[in-house]
């Protein structure tokens, strides 16, 4: 069953809540879904740990009940490609624009 960008966006926004946002999509139909997410809790967190949160879930002591893309989409997670994770200030620096997150 084909995974859509909307399904991934909805799952990520459910995790990130109102403080964050997700921007993912297909490069072309049939390609993997790629993009980025933004959230204040990524501030000061190493890129490797951000990826671990994204794909494998957030450790309980750090809060949240996010189980990660692998658990949420199971075998369909192979239809998702590289997703980068930024803090809001990193996003502003890299994209030179204001974000609507804290």
């Amino acid at each position: 069953m084909v995974l859509t960008p909307k399904e991934v966006t909805d799952a990520l926004n459910g995790w990130l809540g109102t403080e964050g946002r997700a921007n993912v999509g297909w490069t072309s139909p049939g390609s993997r879904i790629t993009g980025y997410i933004v959230h204040p809790n990524f501030r000061g967190l190493a890129p490797k740990e951000r990826q671990d949160w994204l794909w494998n879930g957030v450790p309980k002591p750090r809060g949240g009940d996010w189980t990660g893309l692998n658990a949420v989409f199971k075998e369909r997670a192979t239809q998702i490609g590289v997703i980068l994770a930024y803090s809001p200030d990193e996003y502003e620096q890299l994209f030179d624009t204001e974000t609507d997150v804290a």
């Binding site: 490069t27 390609s31 993997r32 790629t34 993009g35 980025y36 000061g44 890129p47 490797k48 951000r50 990826q51 671990d52 794909w55 192979t78 998702i80 490609g81 590289v82 997703i83 980068l84 994770a85 990193e90 620096q93 890299l94 994209f95 030179d96």
Partner: protein
Amino acid sequence: MPSRQSYCEAAGEHLAAADSSHAGGSYATAHYLYGLAVECILYAHGADFDRRHNLQRQYRSSNYDDIVPDDQKQDIATALSEVQLRWLSSDRYEGPRSLVKQLNARRVSYNVRGSKLKENSAQLGNAARTLVELGVKSWS
């Protein structure tokens, strides 16, 4: 405009030159060349030109993601993030001292003992190598 094959060759050339610069202690030069090597490998895989040299946009417009094995997605994302958070195309105009200031402003030089430039160059080199080697391998 160079061909994709030419960009691929340039990526390998810049990576090797960056490694030599790093080994010789020219960390600011190595820093710039590592980032340039990553840009070249993304262009080799069809990235659109981005006037701000934004690696995320370049990645998304390329077909590089198609060559990333499923079990390496996190490693590639980590490597791309490391490069993007440390490197700007305009760093070619920075001397060693001003580059340290830039790295501090980008908050990528926390808790570094010793030379921040050397440590940054080493981290950037590892990330660039991950991206370039996979990209070049897909051509062979």
